[in-house]
Amino acid sequence: MELFIARLFDGISNGATYALIALALVLIYKATTLINFAQGEMAMFGAFIVLVLATERGVPIWLAVVIGMAISALIGAGIERTLIRPFDPADHLPLVIITLGLFLVFGATAGIIWRFDPRPFPRMFPTGNALSFGVATLTWYTVCVVLTVLIVVGLLTLLLNKTKIGLAFRAVSSNLESSELSGIRVGPTLQFGWALAAAVGTLAASIYVANPLFQLEPSVMARVLIYSASAAALGGLDSLGGAIIGGIAIGMVQSIIVQYVPFIPNELSLATAVAVLVLVLVFKPSGLFGTPQVERV
């Protein structure tokens, strides 16, 4: 039982990161109706900026995170303006290929600038255990990560529901043509979504590698993206709350399956995420909390 709880706690802390990246994926999906395959690499790139600011420029870590998020937001906005907007939003193939290209570009650029050796990330949260039952320990890291995720989703919900740009963003993701006919400028509104997603992604990558067990290196987010994409699909792709619940659920499934299903070694845990993704797509394509695609004719 203690071991089970221990695995659950592990699952929660990984799941929280999956949840944040899933949140970023959902924001892009709502804006452009595609999965941004470069989301993880963009987040990794942002985390490197945070690392450099904090370790080489002596910026306090949380200030470095905020600056890193702001720079990432600018990069995200620039990508939307130069590489996404010129293409027909209804034609997904070119857009998907662009995000795959960005995946490679960000990975390679980070390697060229910062090398491929793993680097320890500055601590963002207090160390030690908040609670322990025998082998099951709930670290302060896990507690703080969960709190961070809740704060982020709370702030995003406020931003989307209480501000004018948030209203425009929800309108455009609901019906692009009617939004345009209401005088909303669609381009800048979608750009806002990309900027927001990039900022959330950088926060996600930072708290992920702030885990004392992990280090930052250019490929660190590649696996996370698979888990997060499954999480976003499980949650329904267009639901913020769904992304969070999906992320935590995927984290726990991964953690528990690896412990209790002997024929799935840790190396194969990625397959569990893919399995969840396939099951969701087959049995409930709109996910747990997504909007079903229903059209009255």
Partner: protein, 251 residues
């Protein structure tokens, strides 16, 4: 100066209040040309209807006016050429377009749909306007927190119209508002258009297949066929026109 008065214009003094003046309008989708040189106008305060069969180019005409397709020819709104202007800017000038089908934002609540309608406004009377349209369409008030996608077809059409009116347009473009709605609901919807036109002075350009209904509330009408205007006149004379009676009224 290019402000020469065209001697062919039927009522020269009316140009002062000519809200929309369209000349030689051509346009379509990619290589397919749908509109082959349309001339029509709408005076301030009028309700004008464009009649025609499926595929005649009615919807395309409205899309051309609100900037949704590339066009050749001239579209003058309130004395200003708007051909080639961006959609969002045309809305800001005072043209609101209720597209065919359900022009609502299905995932958003009724209230949020109306707020989106007022998106381009900067004044403080948005809430007062919303209260006014809730009075005109009480069912929307009852369902104000419901998602627009969960409303019935008629309610969604009311919402789409109310949303467009929230931008305080001077010209309201209505694209087949009767489409897919039950006859009783449609009667009511059209009566309401006429009342709104009388009370607020909002000029309306309505595209319809249901000729009897549309002519019933209109001041004037045009009939288009294959992207060209084949007939025009005031509503009363069109209703009595033999060709119209045969083609559109089924008598």
């Amino acid at each position: 100066m290019s402000d020469e008065v065209d001697p062919a214009t039927e009522t020269p003094p009316a140009t002062a209040q000519r809200l929309l003046d369209v000349r030689g309008l051509r346009g379509g989708y990619g290589p397919i040309q749908v509109l082959h040189g349309l001339d029509f106008h709408v005076d301030a305060g009028e309700v004008v209807v464009i009649l025609g069969a499926n595929g005649a180019g009615k919807t395309t005409t409205l899309r051309a006016v609100s900037g949704m397709i590339e066009i050749a020819g001239s579209v003058v709104f309130d004395g200003e050429e708007i051909a080639g202007t961006k959609k969002a800017d045309i809305v800001r000038k005072g043209v609101a377009h209720v597209p065919q089908g359900r022009g609502t934002l299905p995932e958003l609540s009724v209230v949020d749909n109306l707020r989106v309608g007022a998106y381009s406004r900067k004044d403080k009377q948005v809430d007062a306007d919303m209260a006014k349209w809730f009075e005109v369409y009480p069912v929307l008030h009852e369902r104000r927190d419901q998602r627009a996608g969960s409303l019935s077809g008629g309610e969604q059409q009311m919402l789409a119209v109310a949303r467009a009116l929230m931008s305080r347009p001077r010209l309201l473009l209505l694209d087949e508002p009767s489409l897919g709605l039950a006859p009783l609901i449609v009667q009511d919807l059209f009566q309401r258009f006429r009342e709104i036109n009388k009370e607020t002075g909002t000029t309306m350009l309505v595209v319809e297949q249901n000729a009897r209904l549309a002519l019933g509330i209109a001041d004037r009408g045009y009939v288009i066929e294959s992207g060209q205007i084949i007939l025009q006149g005031d509503a009363a004379s069109l209703i009595d026109d033999d060709a119209i009676r045969k083609a559109y009224l089924g008598v």
